[in-house]
């Protein structure tokens, strides 16, 4: 397969393929972080995670239209505002859903799965009624859609860099919030022992709500970023849900570090196999390997405790 190519060409291709793996890694991290917060810290299975992402994407779409119509001069910068608004919109919806639905179900984690699946159907239909069944085209500022030539042979997509920077940024922010803030301390305390946490004066209800809201907000930002690389339609959220859950479970649900490690290993495995095999087979093999490892090590890569 490589006989006809010079060393420099091969090097360039492998460099770019490595970069493609990193982009995939960033995409997985963005998808999974919000879910890891909610699932890992609260034990809630949010099947509507994809729909929260798509809400962020639709917010981005609306903001881009607004800028194109009223502030064309600032169009190239709208994306940053869109991401903030996506966070607020998805986060606010998350707070509302926690208040109206999830808080009644904390003792029945499997039931959150069913209820949020129902929620995802409702959200899909709402998107369809409001934005139409067709995908919407989100115009991305030109500077974000190009590529950056590094050498004659290596070109790096700017949106890939953007996704990577965002993934790193959000991971750091989540890390700081979780491990350096009072809120994070409370979340972790509740995760370890809800009753004791309440007894020492932590407002568990409000902390739960905020955690859920922040998890959904992060999903919204991810959805906003994915308008650069994917489609925005009522059912697009479902494309992400299996991958997302696998990343979180494979990492060991309770651990954010595990989520990142698992995103890294899955993305590298998939991108290497995609390069040497056909696309469909690469996907199946990746999933099979993940499931195989999970069967040997069901608690995931990094786990605090699992056995019950």
């Amino acid at each position: 397969m490589f006989a006809d190519y010079s060393m420099s060409e091969l090097g360039a291709i492998f460099a770019m393929q490595g970069f493609a793996g990193l982009i995939l890694f960033s995409v997985f991290v963005l998808m999974a972080l919000g879910l890891a917060i909610i699932f890992g810290q609260m034990g809630v299975i949010n099947m509507a995670h994809g729909e929260f992402m798509i809400l962020g994407a639709y917010v981005t779409y609306l903001v881009s239209n607004f800028f194109a119509a009223y502030l064309p001069g600032l169009f190239s910068a709208y994306f940053f505002l869109a991401m903030i608004l996506a966070f607020i919109a998805s986060g606010a919806l998350g707070l509302f859903i926690e208040w109206s639905m999830i808080r009644h179900l904390y003792k029945r984690p499997l039931d959150t799965l069913l209820a949020t699946w129902g929620l995802s159907l409702i959200l899909q239909q709402i998107y369809r009624s409001v934005f139409g069944a067709r995908e919407v085209g989100v115009s991305i500022p030109d500077w974000m859609m190009g590529s950056m030539p590094v050498t004659d042979l290596i070109e790096i997509p700017i949106n890939g860099i953007f996704v990577m920077v965002l993934a790193v940024g959000i991971s750091l922010a989540v890390y700081v919030m979780m491990f350096r803030s009072g809120w994070g301390k409370q979340v972790r305390a509740i995760n370890q022992n809800r009753v004791m946490a309440g007894a020492v004066g932590i407002n568990t209800e409000w902390t739960d709500r905020l955690t859920f809201g922040i998890g959904c907000g992060v999903a919204g930002v991810a959805g906003s970023a994915f308008t650069m690389i994917g489609s925005t339609g009522p059912t697009a959220g479902q494309l992400y849900i299996v991958d997302t859950f696998l990343v979180v479970v494979f990492g060991g649900a309770a651990s954010l570090l595990g989520t990142i490690a698992s995103a890294f290993s899955i993305s590298q495995a998939q991108s290497i196999m995609e390069f040497f095999l056909s696309g469909s087979m690469a996907k199946v093999l990746t999933l099979l390997i993940i499931v195989g490892i999970l069967m040997i090590r069901p608690q995931g890569l990094f786990a605090m405790k699992l056995r019950k």
Partner: protein, 376 residues
């Protein structure tokens, strides 16, 4: 009432009512087309019964029941497809005598693992055996390592995703995204005629009752009580010396066998099998059928499957653009407001009043302690 009898009296009444509904009421009020639809819904109730045992009694929530339903359905479809692909019927193909989709994908001979499906006996065996073997492998791997709850749910979901991608990707062997279509006869008997559809409906009903009796037997046996004990306090059961994992594997395999039979009946009644019945969405919907019926109740599971599917068909006929809202609302309502589903409503609200009316001696019959009320 003796504790080891197969039925309590109220369960007996429940079975009798269901039998009347399936064998008398529905055939009397529905035309063949609607009856066939209800026959299709009933095939889902096989899965829901299995889930009532695994999830309701055993606490094992599988989001991959579609896999077993699909495997059973595909085994049956392979047999029917081979029968439909006679050299005469497929004369225009470059290789007559093999299924049409194989010919389109340049296969020139039947793959070896299709060969046994020339035999109906083997196919019927496979309908049960293939799902059970799959379930056994998954069960051993997971339950021996004490994986349960949410993790189990998500890993089974991944299986559903894998199998869908495999079936779609290997279209030369499986028919791909189109599925295995255009099934015609079963040992020369045309399954597409109205009479055949009615016969199949009754066969389906009888099989359903066989499965219901099996499920009831398991529930009333010591195993059933152990399952409930495990669901509520797994460690105590384990410390009492029971092999928890084996019980779980058994019940999971049983659920898979039920689902496989349901899948085969689906193929027979609908006339094709496709990967859309294997994936994540149908698997979750099947859980909903069970939840709507009342997750503990095997009879409830049947009603749940009927009600949800009937609502789905009706909704989508009258308000095609809004039915997702209704379905989503139903999911949430069942979980939030009626966690015990139809069976809960029946045993908490309807049955006591009914008995009051009949017996006029409320003290005996309506005391909730005697009801088989599903536990939280």
């Amino acid at each position: 009432m003796k504790a080891n009898a197969l039925f309590t009296r109220s369960e007996m009444i429940g079975f009798a009512i269901l039998a009347c509904v399936i064998f008398l009421l529905l055939p009397a009020v529905l035309d063949t087309f609607r009856l066939n639809l209800f026959g299709k819904y009933l095939t889902y109730s096989f899965v829901a019964i299995g889930l009532a045992l695994c999830w309701g009694a055993g606490g094992i929530l599988s989001l991959g029941q579609g896999v077993f339903f699909g495997l059973g359905g595909y085994c049956m479809a392979m047999f029917l497809k081979l029968e439909a692909s006679t050299p005469e019927n497929t004369a225009i193909q470059s290789t007559p005598g093999i299924p049409d989709f194989m010919d389109w994908n340049q296969l020139t001979a039947l793959p070896w693992w299709w060969e046994p499906f020339h035999s109906l006996g083997f196919a019927m065996f496979a309908v049960v055996a293939v799902p059970v073997v799959f379930a056994f492998i998954i069960g051993v791997a997971m339950f021996r390592r004490r994986v349960g709850g949410v993790y189990f749910a998500i890993i089974t979901q991944a299986f559903a995703a894998i199998l869908t991608i495999l079936i779609i990707g290997q279209q030369g062997f499986t028919g791909g995204v189109n599925g295995i279509t255009d099934l015609r006869t079963l040992l020369g008997w045309d399954i597409r005629t109205d009479e055949a559809k009615e016969t199949l409906y009754y066969v389906n009903g009888i099989l359903l009752f066989a499965v219901l009796f099996a499920a009831q037997f398991v529930r009333r046996s010591k195993l059933g009580r152990l399952l409930i004990a495990m669901r509520d306090q797994e460690d105590r059961v384990r410390f009492s010396g029971y092999d928890v994992a084996s019980f779980k594997i058994f019940i999971f395999c049983l659920g898979a066998a039920f689902a496989g039979i349901g899948g085969a009946m689906f193929t027979l009644q609908v006339g094709f099998m496709s990967p859309t019945l294997v994936g994540i969405v149908p698997s979750i919907e099947m859980v909903i059928f069970c939840a709507v019926g009342g997750r503990m109740s095997i009879l409830g599971a049947v009603y749940g499957a009927l009600l949800v599917n009937w609502a789905k068909t009706t909704f989508s006929e009258s308000f095609p653009e809004l039915w997702l809202l209704g379905l989503g609302g139903l999911f949430i309502a069942v979980v939030m407001a009626f966690p015990n589903g139809l069976a809960g409503i029946w045993s908490e609200k309807v049955e006591p009043r009914l008995l009051k009316l009949i017996k006029k001696s409320p003290a005996q019959a309506a005391s909730p302690a005697q009801q088989s009320t599903p536990a939280e």
